[in-house]
């Protein structure tokens, strides 16, 4: 017994020392997390899949300063409680150094305060809710629905020269003020006003005919909407059933998919979207080549979501590789705060995390168009459309 005790004590000491060693993080893997809508009614799995593909490729090439990246994509099930638990699992439990490539409908709003407490930074691939663009600790890679709405309105009135633009807004939670601000920004730039705003349009409605009839009766020539795919399809079909085929749709990146294009038989006078990343449906573009190859290799769908996740991981790797010394949450946070802007041909605005209190700096979209009968997205511009700086 006498002999056993010291051995046991030594073993325990060794074991705890081992744990402490991995906590300090000088040789073990670098843990990076993300919180995503992987199951539930609306799922966006491609963003974290793409980020994982980037990290896997980096690991295969030797990792960062000899250390591998361990990427953990946690499901928030579209549920606030699960989103909070997911963040605590990966930030508290797994001691992630940062969150990269998240894509969720609710995550930012639920977890922004927790990230501030834990002094951890998040670089979502696709940020959706307003909190993604108003927190000091969150800086999404994408443009976001609010700047996207300003852009789509700018394109409609300034490039297509449309008058009598109306808005049908699908409001979930507290997003109305953010959309109103986006429309206000367009008014400030152009001096124009919307003919009519209906912010009572429901999410997931079955029949949108009454809202379409109302907009038509009000004299709208073009309609901007912030829809999810099925809703937008329903709205376009309602307009078609009414024989309203000369209306222009100014929509957001949320409907930019090949699936959507296939489901639309009549697009009125055209569906216009400012794509948040260089349009992935342009198969020959050099801007997307590297991303396209990596996605094809890993069998990840080509979507805006996988573009966002890919870019988030790529930016993060660039920052990580530029760091000297130990890689911990503290040093990663410092490096992101002090990083220099990174340009990429896939986006119109360079990315920088920086020390700002809010991150809503991506202000460029590439206009694309879906015409009636084509079932295919086409480029409708040769350069990025940008929101002019005030």
């Amino acid at each position: 017994m006498r002999k056993v005790l010291p051995t046991l004590a030594a073993a325990v000491l060794l074991a705890t020392a081992g744990c402490a060693g991995s906590d300090a993080g000088s040789s073990g893997p670098i843990v990076v997390g993300s919180v995503n809508a992987l199951s539930g009614a609306a799922t966006f799995p491609e963003s974290s899949q793409a980020a994982k593909a980037v990290f896997d490729a980096a690991n295969a090439a030797g990792g960062v300063n000899g250390r591998k990246i361990e990427y953990k994509a946690i499901d928030d099930k579209g549920d606030p409680a699960a989103a909070a638990a997911a963040a605590r699992e990966v930030v508290g439990g797994d001691s992630a150094v940062a969150l990269v490539g998240s894509s969720s409908l609710i995550e930012c709003e639920i977890n922004e305060k927790y990230y501030e407490q834990q002094k951890i930074l998040s670089m979502p691939g696709i940020g959706v809710d307003p909190a993604c663009f108003s927190s000091p600790n969150i800086a999404p890679v994408n443009v976001g629905p609010f700047h996207d709405m300003t852009l789509t309105l700018l394109y409609g009135t300034e490039v297509l020269k449309l008058d009598d633009v109306c808005a049908l807004l699908e409001i979930a939670g507290n997003t109305l003020p953010a959309y109103q601000a986006a429309i206000g920004e367009w008014t400030k730039i152009t001096g124009k006003k919307l003919k009519y705003v209906d912010s009572t349009v429901p999410y997931g409605g079955s029949d949108y005919t009454p809202y379409i009839v109302k907009a038509r009766a009000a004299g709208c020539k073009a309609i901007t909407v912030n829809p999810v795919e099925p809703d937008s399809i329903g709205q376009l079909k309602a307009a078609q059933a009414q024989g309203w085929t000369d209306v222009t749709w100014l929509l957001l990146t949320s409907v930019y998919s090949e699936n959507y294009a296939k489901a639309i038989s009549n697009a009125g006078a055209g569906v216009y979207v400012p794509a948040e990343f260089y349009p992935f449906t342009d198969a020959t573009a050099a801007a997307n080549q590297e991303w396209r190859d990596l996605m094809a290799k890993n069998k990840i769908p080509l979507t805006s979501f996988s573009q966002g996740g890919y870019l988030a991981a790529k930016y993060f790797l660039a920052v990580l590789r530029g760091m000297k010394g130990d890689i911990t949450r503290e040093t990663v946070t410092k490096a992101l705060r002090e990083m220099k802007p990174i340009s990429d041909p896939m986006v119109g605005t360079p990315y920088v995390f920086g020390p700002a209190q809010a991150h809503h700096d991506n202000t460029a979209g590439w206009p694309i168009k879906l015409a009636t009968g084509t079932n295919k997205w086409e480029l409708s511009a040769r350069d990025w459309l940008r929101i002019p700086k005030p």
């Binding site: 029949d207 009454p210 795919e229 399809i233 059933a241």
Partner: protein, 286 residues
């Protein structure tokens, strides 16, 4: 307002068709079939799958979907009339709730949660009255509702099949003792309503948002409409469906009332229940 009401008529026609199916089921086989529109939804989804992935021609795929909707309903009917023949209406109806949830989940698992490229059977306006557009879908669904209701009434009132069905619904045990084949007739009713519901959903689904949940939940406004006829009268079920659709359309025209739109079926259900129970003494009503 009139324009809004007419815009809601397409939805109203669909509610009316489903309400007629619900009423038939309740009268003839003692079931409130909560899976009524879910079977239709599932049939449609399979039709789209056949057309898109297996290259079936559009009409054949739609036909296959309708047959499948009928078959699903028949299987469910066979199960209920075999194992729950003597059970009360509540128990028999509860089975259909399980089927409703099963079909919604199954549709998500098999077909994913991305929108499906439904090919419209009918598209565009049919005619215009004083600047108000009435779509082809509206005309067809409303006509279908009225025709189905009239047809069922004629069958029930004028044919020997109708007499046997009525006997079965009024006095099931007596009818069976008289040699009326209860199970085949019940399964027949289930099949017929399954086919009608799938046909109606097939016509309407391509013209509106068509995710599994919203299509399957069409049973709620349909139930409100059927309740107007007390789950017994076909004419009132049709009227209920049409009025409910038009009211929803009209309400959406006023910004202040618009939020009410999706609560209307529930409000109608509560109001009708209170009205029909108005003469009941509290203890007796329970």
């Amino acid at each position: 307002m009139l324009q809004g009401a007419l815009a809601g008529l397409a939805a109203g026609g669909l509610y009316a068709v489903l309400a007629v199916c619900l009423t038939l089921m309740s009268r003839l086989v003692r079931v409130v079939n909560f899976a009524q529109s879910a079977t239709g939804m599932f049939g449609c989804y399979v039709a789209v799958f056949l057309a898109v992935h297996l290259g079936f021609p559009e009409w054949l795929a739609t036909l296959a979907g309708i047959v499948l909707g009928g078959a699903l309903s028949a299987v469910l009917g066979w199960i209920v009339s075999t194992w729950l023949a003597e059970a009360d209406t509540g128990t028999r109806s509860a089975v259909t709730v399980a089927v409703l949830l099963l079909l919604i989940s199954l549709a998500f698992i098999l077909f994913g949660n991305k929108p499906q490229p439904f090919h419209p059977l009918l598209a565009g306006p049919a005619f215009t009255v004083g600047g108000v557009v009435v779509s082809q879908v509206t005309v067809v669904t409303v006509a279908l509702a009225v025709l189905v209701a009239l047809g069922c009434r004629a069958v029930l009132a004028r044919t020997s099949l109708g007499v046997r069905l009525r006997a079965l619904s009024e006095r099931p045990t007596t009818a069976e003792l008289l040699g009326i084949p209860a199970r085949p007739l019940s399964v027949g009713v289930w099949t017929a309503t399954g086919v009608i519901a799938t046909l109606a959903v097939s016509i309407v689904a391509p013209s509106q948002s068509n995710d599994p949940t919203s299509l399957a939940m069409l049973v709620v406004p349909a139930a409100a409409a059927a309740l107007l006829g007390g789950f017994r009268r076909l004419d009132l079920a049709v009227a209920g469906g049409l009025v409910l659709g038009m009211a929803q359309g009209a309400v959406a025209q006023a910004d202040k009332l618009s939020v009410l739109r999706y609560f209307l079926p529930f409000l109608v259900i509560v109001a009708l229940l209170l009205w029909t129970q108005r003469k009941e003494v509290w203890d007796a009503a329970r």
